[in-house]
């Protein structure tokens, strides 16, 4: 591992991408070879699900590769677009009414772009407070001017939540790109990849653990699959992968372990919270066939990141005393 640490930045990241794409090619080839066999319906359904997930991972990997080549500005823009699509999906499933029209316009066309402009221009003091302080006041004011008191608190709270999760949370991922860490200049891109990777590993490990273990769920009405043991295994897997990658991070092995545990843990807990929101909205799966509105299921995939990114970002800042 020490030899890896001595490679130049682009060599390290290049190596990681080669490994990532190599792994994806192998998994895809195996998945394809398995389609040649006869299977029953249940397996076919599971396989379709797996194919969808695999496609999402491919798209994510290619996006990161493009973002890494194109630099900080393009990455921030890409995250901004994902943020927009996620917020669109969130708003679709919360029942907004006419009086909310103006506040939604504010959220989509003013708050969202502004937050990403603030990130891109590295105004970190404004970045952390813009939404929780200023937008927190602006949205209900515009909503109140909509002149509709019916379920006012509920409607406003839902819009605020959508902004907090899809815009504020998400914007912490590109913000990592621009953190000025000691001896780690221009490696922010890797820190983002590290975060996404660790969160994804935690999610996948938790999912497969809960399928194998069949433990008693921690909150049956919210999620049938979430149990504390499966969660713990997911977080441990994240920690393991995170430590194995320490050589490309600004951390030493132990802090890398802690950082991965924090990111994986908060990501999977965020996903658990999202399941609660979905249940409330009356959909079982955010995307796919369950909803007539045709949500594409993007929110499902990015929600863990939205919750993990702020926690990870502030832990890193606190650890390095920035």
């Amino acid at each position: 591992m020490g030899a890896l640490r001595n490679l130049s930045v682009s060599q390290q990241i290049g190596l990681l991408f080669v490994a990532l794409f190599g792994l994806l090619v192998i998994v895809t080839a195996i998945a394809f070879s398995r389609t040649l066999r006869d299977r029953n319906d249940e397996q076919l359904v599971a396989h379709e699900q797996f194919k969808r997930d695999l496609r999402a991972v491919w798209i994510g990997a290619v996006l990161f590769w493009v973002a890494w080549i194109a630099g900080g500005f393009v990455s921030t823009l890409l995250f901004g677009i994902v943020s927009f699509l996620a917020l669109r999906e969130f708003v679709t499933l919360t029942h907004t009414v006419r009086g909310d029209h103006r506040s939604l316009l504010l959220a989509f066309f003013a708050v969202l772009p502004l937050q990403y402009v603030i990130v891109a221009t590295e105004h970190f003091d404004v970045f952390s407070v813009f939404i929780p302080v200023y937008v927190f006041l602006a949205i209900p004011v515009i909503s109140a001017l909509g002149n509709d008191p019916k379920r006012f608190l509920e409607r406003t709270a839902k819009i605020q939540w959508g902004i907090m999760v899809c815009v504020y949370g998400m914007s912490h991922a590109p913000a990592l790109l621009l953190l000025d860490l000691p001896d780690y200049r221009d490696r922010g891109a890797f820190l983002v990849l590290y975060l996404v990777l660790v969160v994804a590993i935690a999610q996948i490990a938790q999912e497969s653990a809960s399928r194998r273990l069949r433990r008693r769920p921690a909150a049956r009405a919210i999620s049938r699959s979430f149990s504390w043991r499966a969660w713990g295994l997911g977080v441990l897997a994240a920690g393991f992968v995170g430590t194995a990658l320490y050589w490309a991070t600004p951390f030493k092995p132990i802090p890398a372990l802690v950082a991965a545990l924090v990111a994986g843990g908060s990501g999977t807990l965020g996903e658990f919270v999202m399941k609660g929101i979905k249940r409330d909205a009356g959909v079982r799966s955010w995307g796919g066939k369950a909803s007539v509105t045709g949500a594409v299921g993007l929110l499902d995939r990015v929600a863990p990141l939205c919750f993990a990114a702020p926690v990870f970002f502030h832990s890193v800042r606190w650890y390095f005393g920035l």
Partner: protein, 206 residues
Amino acid sequence: MTLPEAGGLLLATIARLITGAQGHWYGAPPKAEQRIYFANHQSHFDWVLIWAALPSDLRAVTRPIAARDYWTSSKLKHWITREIFNAVYVSRQRTDDEDPLEPLMEALRNGDSLVIFPEGTRGNKGDPAPFKAGLYHLAEAFADVQLIPAWIDNVQRVMPKGEIVPVPILCSVTFGAPLTLQPAEDKRAFLDRARQAVMALRTVQT
């Protein structure tokens, strides 16, 4: 690429970015046959949504109906409806010597497909208003043109009446199985059946 084509592509992209414009086809695949699509009407955005949900090769032969006095009142409106959408203009003032359906019949005789909103006006919410007779007359005159019901979901949240800027919210257009006019079917009975066919698509699930 000509300017109207580029404009059309831009409009379709914007519509997709804002609404997703997902088309779900149940009972009739998206084919280049001559068709009359009829749908519920809640917003000015409805036509653009149906149009963006169609595959691009069907967009060229599917035409909307536009009120002549409104959509030719400025150069831009006229250009958009004429060049991009290839709209069929109808006049809202009825004159004695002119059949208001004549421009539609003309377009159908040319082999074009049409999108019509048989409620006649934009409804507020809930169930669509009773259908006007135009659909029946067209079905009577063109028995071999398929009548496809469509339900547009969620669009009233994108752009409520009186607002100009659309909010990004996902919408979908559900296309149903073709409807045919039964021999000797009563006008009212047919229109009610057509309305039911549109409303039935509201709850379609795969």
